[in-house]
């Protein structure tokens, strides 16, 4: 494993110039992933249609990918990227892996190749769940990154299977008698473990060292590594400038998306998120920073704390119960080997 500081000064394959929103966690994640991949191994990236694609692969003005200002003389630092349709990123990555492996097996490719894919939660967990699970099921030796902003952000912030209960989205709007999203999120971490992944993690760059260490582990995994990256979306979650990392941290600590790393044969652990609710930041503090939960909580003028809006007490209690079950679920999954 490389040192955190050593990785921080590497050259990322994600370059300035994307049109991602200022404050987008996806940009921070891709910057960090790009640095980890500057490890002396040729990198191929596949990317499904998503914010991370339409905002970075624009022709001819902005292509925010590539290592260095000019193509490297060193093949190992060259970089290639492929986009196809929403759901295809894991399958594309698997195909590149297979071709590289067959060529290597024939003695036609001497240099190693590392293959990653990037999808949004819409692309990976909704339209692309089939592709995600079957690439894992076939034990493809690739690292699958899923940027989870809990919405179809690229098409205007609609519900996705990862949307937190009671969130207001374009297609689950809050209204009289309608409390926002009423569906519990898909248990995607468990699904990936069950499908046969070698490594499954849920971690954002807010946990910086853990994040880069997990990406490194994923790249060296002897099987499929799936890394879900909680990605606060400034436009879809509707929070103030400069709060991205704070929200990512608070969401993890409060139990909305606890940091979690699991490896086959070794088991896993929940990081920086207590099992008991009393030992965690109140979920209301996380909700209160985002206008997608404006209908659920308000700031108490006396205490300064976020509390349930009048008439939303039962909904907030249900949400707290879901958060607790979410945390308990990950602690139980960590015990699997």
């Amino acid at each position: 494993m490389s040192g955190y500081k050593e990785i921080a000064i590497r050259e990322s394959c994600f370059r300035p110039g994307s049109t991602l929103c200022p404050g987008c966690m996806e940009a921070i994640a891709l910057q960090n992933i790009g640095r980890v991949t500057d490890n002396g191994i040729k990198t191929v990236f596949s990317i499904g249609t998503s914010c991370a694609e339409v905002s970075t692969l624009f022709f001819p003005n902005v292509v925010a990918w590539g290592r260095g200002a000019a193509p490297s003389d060193d093949y190992a630092r060259s970089f290639a990227i492929l986009h196809n349709v929403f759901e295809s990123a894991p399958t594309l990555a698997e195909a590149v892996r297979d071709v590289a492996d067959v060529l290597a097996d024939m003695g036609a490719l001497e240099h190693p190749v590392q293959v990653l894919s990037s999808s949004g939660d819409g692309g990976a967990l909704s339209i692309g769940l089939r592709a995600l699970l079957h690439t894992i099921h076939r034990r493809a030796r690739v690292t699958l990154i899923v940027l989870v902003n809990e919405i179809f952000a690229n098409t205007g912030f609609q519900y996705s299977p990862a949307t937190t209960p009671f969130a207001d989205t374009s297609t689950t709007p809050n209204g009289p008698g309608h409390p926002g999203n009423i569906e519990p999120p898909l248990d995607y971490v468990h699904l990936c473990i069950a499908a046969g992944a070698a490594l499954v993690a849920q971690v954002s760059p807010a946990h910086g060292k853990l994040f880069v260490k997990t990406i490194e582990k994923g790249l060296s995994a002897d099987g499929t590594a799936v890394i879900f990256v909680p990605s606060p979306c400034i436009s879809g979650w509707k929070f103030e400038d400069g709060e991205t990392v704070k929200l990512a941290t608070l969401g993890a600590q409060a139990g909305a998306y606890p940091a979690f790393v699991w490896e086959r044969g070794k088991g896993g652990s929940v990081k920086d998120c207590a099992r008991e609710a009393i030992d965690r930041p109140p979920i209301e503090e996380f909700l209160g920073l985002q206008r997608r939960f404006y209908h659920m909580v308000q700031k108490d003028p006396v205490s300064g704390q976020f509390v349930a809006r009048t008439g939303r007490e039962q909904d907030l209690e249900k949400l707290r119960a879901w958060v607790q079950s979410n945390v308990e679920r990950l602690y139980r999954l960590a015990e699997l080997k």
Binding site: H83, V85, A100, V102, L109
Partner: protein, 444 residues
Amino acid sequence: MSTLQGPRAPMSHVTTPAGERYDGAIDLSKVRAAHHALYEAREEMTADGNTAAALATLQMWQCVIFAGFPITPSTKYIETIASKIAADPTTKKKVKLLEAEHAVADYLVGAAAACRDLIFPTATSSVGLDHMTETTRSLGASGLGNVMIVNVYRATANFPLCIEGDPSDALAHRDDGFIQICARGKQQIYDTVVQAPCLGMHPEVMTPTMPGYYGIKDSHRNARLVVEPDREIAAFHDRWIRPSELPGLINGDTAFGNCVTSRHFQGFKISQKQRMERVLDVLPKLGADFENYFGRPGLAFFDAVGFPDDGEVDLAVLSMGPDFGTFEAIREAYGKRTGLKVGGIAMRLLTPFPRDAVRHKLQRAKVVLVVNQAHHQGRGHLTLDVADALSDLEYAPRLVSAFAGLGGADVSEPTWERMLDFARSAHEGTPVAPYAFFHEGSLL
């Protein structure tokens, strides 16, 4: 930074319009050397169409991964590949079974982009091709001419489901961007699959190919087949296929599948269309070279019968597929009985439709009977293409449109005679309906 894999000699790289290409990254000679020949000498055998297509791809050294998903009537293609691979304990080639046809198409994108010098074939049918559609339309525009989808024709709609050979799948996918070539007979299937990559990977074409043939009628029925030795196929490919000038993902610093604004979209689409139209120039040369090399007819726009040197016929038939053989069998007798000069053409190249060649062939016919074998919202896929081809003639032949053989039904001799009679009435000046359905010798 230092490489984790130890120091390596610098690799030369070349700047191309699509990014940087690292020429030493992939040693294709090793891939060629890893190929185990299936046939060392020309052999004759009895085979069905799926086996003929499978053998052709197995014999190509550039085919190293065979992705697939079963669907009737194409399934025996991937089964044949799997059995041959399984029978070779030292082969490095792989069968890759995906979870759905859509996944197969996605896989072809990734694999073909990974190395543009390898060929990635699969076979599918009917709703399998429909399931691929989201990605086949991307592939058609991708420039990845090293993808080949063998389409074993079968009706597409499942209300009602019908597994016999009906080219409505192929004809519904005319706009996917693939070069579509219809083959009839096992030898033509084999020869078409051998030639297809030469066309698709031609540097002026760079368009994926979709050779096709009728399900059941050609996929499942046996006939004589001559297979060529692998080394001759490789030698023929060497005449046509050069190492790609554009980089792939593994040997390049490049990007595939970018977004563009509408301003730049125009250029991409014009380029796609221009590459497709280059097929009309390249295909005849390729077909002639194949015939010269192997002694059998190569790719052509169509097969024609019964046209005199001056091209003048009373009645010309235009159709496709193996049922055209039944027409060929009765053509002379029908002509003698009716006193008409009767000719016919069986289409081989469906997309791009060889408009000029069809017009030239049919321009001196008095009546053209177009026999469509697939459901269409109007007068028939082929009818519209022929109407377009003939549209700028000063004295255009009268066009008669028929539907027959839907769902893979045999187009029997009585059915052909009934259709020819229908067209003959138009020749005699009788008004005919815009289109008519025929089955088992009757006008429906």
